[in-house]
């Protein structure tokens, strides 16, 4: 072969999961990032603290979400009357009829799936971080955490809130509750969490500790 790739040792190769191009694995310097030379998707990041970071951010997002559910999200006042609504109130506002579906959409995409992802990441990474063998079904857990990523829509919900507020603007005076700001921080934390995961590092660590 003229391509210079060594097909005898398949563990020395990586095929870009997005475009199938073969690359030779080489040792990266800390802080370096290997990207696919054809589609430019990230193959490997060598942030040595990738697991620490992901773990810390996943735990932080769980704490923030717990807080965001407890405190009031928005307050509305009109003619001296003030109402405060939490996210739970928003979800439970439609508890009858087919409107339930809409509340379920918010519950699922905004609250449940981001937390399920955080839990799966912690479940997978925590033992690896401690140098212990992976917990049962860790591969499946991490695969699900990755697959659910597009379905966690906290950031879309916050933009949706802004639009809803502009729409409602004329009808009542709106004040932001603690939960709104916690949600904004949560959006950032989840963003950093997703950026800090190095799939290759986690897959190879799972393999190393289970072998």
């Amino acid at each position: 072969m003229t391509t210079g790739l060594n097909y005898q040792n398949l563990d020395g190769l990586i095929a870009c999961p997005h475009c199938d191009l073969l690359h030779e694995l080489e040792a990266l310097q800390p802080g370096q990032r290997a990207t696919c030379s054809r589609c430019h998707s990230t193959l490997i990041t060598t942030k040595s603290e990738t697991m620490d970071r992901t773990l810390a951010l996943a735990l932080a997002s769980a704490v923030l979400m717990a807080g965001a559910l407890c405190f009031p999200f928005l307050g509305m006042s009109k003619a001296g009357l003030e109402r405060k609504a939490s996210i739970v109130d928003v979800i439970l506002a439609f508890s009858e009829g087919w409107y339930v579906l809409l509340g379920l959409c918010v519950l699922l995409f905004v609250v449940v799936l981001p937390m399920v992802r955080a839990a799966l990441l912690v479940y997978t990474i925590w033992p690896l971080r401690q140098g212990r063998p992976a917990l049962p079904h860790a591969k499946l857990a991490f695969a699900w955490a990755e697959a659910l990523a597009p379905w966690a829509m906290t950031e879309i919900f916050i933009i949706g809130t802004a639009v809803a507020l502009i729409k409602i603007g004329g009808l009542a005076t709106i004040s932001f509750g603690t939960s709104f700001w916690l949600f904004c921080v949560l959006v950032l934390v989840i963003g950093f969490q997703n950026a800090s995961v190095c799939r290759w590092t986690i897959w190879s660590t799972i393999r190393k500790v289970t072998a």
Binding site: L5, A15, V90, A143, A164, W203
Partner: protein
């Protein structure tokens, strides 16, 4: 530049580990190995058409309905946009127009075009296809914005007891349409984008 398939090997879709063609499961992540996702394009079509079918009632039925003194008058997506343009709320009108009209319709067209261009090996650069694919992957989720807006509006107004606004059937159809088109975009095997261009004989 050689792909795993051209080298007679199979690259895992999930983690990228390279395997012999006879291997069944990925030794790294456990995923069932396939050189290319089976029936990827047919599945994409099926989900896309389902999404399109739900997009029609999403536009015909009202997204929101005001219940004022027993008489119900709602507005559909397009009526809502016109309402805001008339009020002079160009920002809201543009956000809603982008999220509920341009992104969904653009997505149907782009996914359809991508699948056709892969299937009929249209003479289109792989990079152009990649840009379209990434665009669809990235923006598709953002259509959900309007579903959240409707849910928030209706529940806040209900909780505030100002006036009664109820979500209309259009909103649920719209949510389903977004979900189905997201699944459709995820069914595309991005590796197919590169296959035909690399079919040409290699000169070193």
């Amino acid at each position: 530049m050689i792909s795993a398939r051209e080298a007679g090997l199979v690259g895992c879709h999930r983690c990228g580990t390279v395997h012999q063609p006879q291997d069944h499961d990925c030794r790294m992540c456990g995923k069932t190995l396939k050189s290319r996702k089976p029936n990827s394009l047919q599945k994409t079509w099926a989900w896309l058409i389902t999404g399109l079918v739900f997009y029609i009632p999403a536009n015909v039925f009202p997204l929101l309905s005001n219940r004022v003194l027993g008489s119900e008058d709602g507005h559909t997506i397009i009526e809502g946009i016109i309402l805001f343009f008339k009020k002079g709320d160009f920002l809201v009108a543009s956000v809603i127009m982008a999220a509920s009209l341009l992104i969904p319709i653009g997505k149907f067209l782009i996914v359809g075009f991508l699948v056709l261009s892969i299937h009929y090996r249209w003479n289109l650069s792989a990079h152009a296809r990649l840009v379209l694919y990434e665009l669809v992957e990235f923006i598709g989720r953002w259509s959900m914005i309007d579903v959240f807006v409707v849910a928030l509006l209706a529940s806040l107004i209900r909780l505030g007891a100002i006036i009664s606004i109820l979500p209309g059937p259009g909103s649920v159809c719209f949510a389903l349409s977004v979900v189905f088109t997201m699944i459709s975009a995820q069914s595309i095997d991005a590796k197919l984008i590169w296959d035909d261009t690399s079919k040409e004989p290699k000169h070193e």
